[in-house]
Point group: C2
Chain length 269, copies 2
């Protein structure tokens, strides 16, 4: 089912600034038994992005109503939510546009092989680097060519790719966030002030670690730390948590903490 501005449709005007400039934001949300998981946090990040881009946000109640409508009958599916600045006259100037376009689309649940979460994944080291752009970092906007280029680097022999920035720091996966378990048992996840997307599942993992009494440091991460880590894992709203089995010719163990975090993800609010 696809709703565009509240009406069932699957086509969009070619003058929409979402197409012309990637002028918009989006969320990908897991839906279980009609309930979008971690919805408040997804809406919070969406709101952050709309504010950063100065796009007029949709009415909250209307948006919630449309989300309920799309998800109500779904046992398990993916909800994709896109808000663009809407159709515009020619030129970059966003200040003349007062509308927006809301697109809500459900699609079948992404079923990945159980072994990715179980035995772990092979992680590719991407050549494509992320540019430093603090004005666009953290939220999920529609300018995603860096991710497309990074993802093009590897085929089915890897399940995810690790991406650095031009300073050489480790930032994230092409579609997921990275957590590093250090030798002392503490956890680190890369700082995303300059580039990268701050995942909603990353936020859930950080909160869960805090509940477990485990320290999670947010800071710059070097390649060497990743290579020397005790364990690595990748997270996003659809995959949940995948431990890394192999990266850069090294194999990693899967500590009990990974199973505890995965168990927590089974009971998402």
């Amino acid at each position: 089912m696809i709703l565009i501005n509240g009406i069932e449709a699957d086509q969009l005007s070619v003058t929409d600034r979402g197409l012309l400039y990637g002028d918009g934001v989006w969320e990908t949300i897991g839906v279980v038994d009609g309930k979008p998981q971690l919805l408040e946090w997804h809406l919070e990040r969406l709101q952050q992005g709309l504010q950063a881009l100065m796009i007029k946000p949709p009415d909250r109640d209307m948006l919630r109503h449309e989300i309920s409508m799309t998800c109500a009958q779904q046992v398990r599916c993916i909800l994709k939510l896109i808000i663009t600045r809407g159709p515009g006259s020619r030129g970059y100037n966003p200040l003349t546009v007062e509308s927006h376009t809301r697109i809500l689309q459900t699609s079948p649940w992404a079923s990945y092989p159980a072994e990715y979460a179980g035995q772990g994944i092979r992680l590719h080291s991407c050549e494509t680097r992320l540019a430093h752009q603090p004005k666009l970092a953290g939220f999920k906007h529609l300018n995603r060519l860096e991710q497309v280029l990074a993802r093009a680097e590897f085929g089915d022999e890897y399940q995810e790719g690790l991406v650095r920035d031009y300073a050489g720091h480790i930032i994230e996966g092409t579609m997921s966030n990275l957590f590093v378990m250090n030798e002392d048992g503490s956890i680190t996840t890369p700082d995303l002030q300059m580039c990268g997307i701050a995942g909603v599942m990353r936020r859930f993992i950080m909160q869960t670690l805090e509940n477990f009494g485990i320290q999670c440091h947010i800071r710059a991460v070097e390649l060497m730390e990743v290579e020397q880590a005790k364990a690595l894992f990748m997270t996003n709203s659809l995959i949940g948590l995948w431990p890394v089995h192999e990266f850069s010719n090294k194999t990693y163990q899967i500590p009990p903490l990974v199973r505890e975090l995965q168990a927590a993800i089974q009971n998402l609010p």
Copy 2:
């Protein structure tokens, strides 16, 4: 008139990767008496972009045929040409997609007040900086949020904004390229290896300068050079050439060379 994959239409599937990721390239071409100006150079840059993004290019003859169809009856208009990677299944991976989407759209000619080209423009100094991303520099892709943010900084009191990169170098206007006339009469235009769009009109101006026997240097440009320049001008395919009258509380003269270049633009191939 809008042609999508050769058929008259004005709507696009919401699963098109042009919308989802800005996964595509575009050109804006001036059309005079049914003839798209500097068409070969526009198609060359389009081809470069498609290659950089590994998008299957449209058949050249078919594309030319569609361009002729859209422009044939037009005395004076703008042709916008967008090629996206087409509709895709979920996820960034571009390698599973073998199609593309072609969008050709004509719109009325942009008529700017004659004084912009005559007496010159007021140029705003933008706070928004461009990120260094050599993999996406030079060609005209659909990830344009930096331009949208830069353009949002100023209103009608300015006609264009000058944008720097994070290293502090001057790169371009929000929608145009910059040329600097130095005190010795030589011309400089910023190097675009790390960011920026290498305009087709920029190329025409560089070639025309060469024909005039005037040296045009392509290199990093500092703010101080711009402030101390003898003259400045901005170029793109639709505005042609606008001299800068005022920037950063300084006024600039308009040398005879500007008029000679504007005259050359009147007779574009």
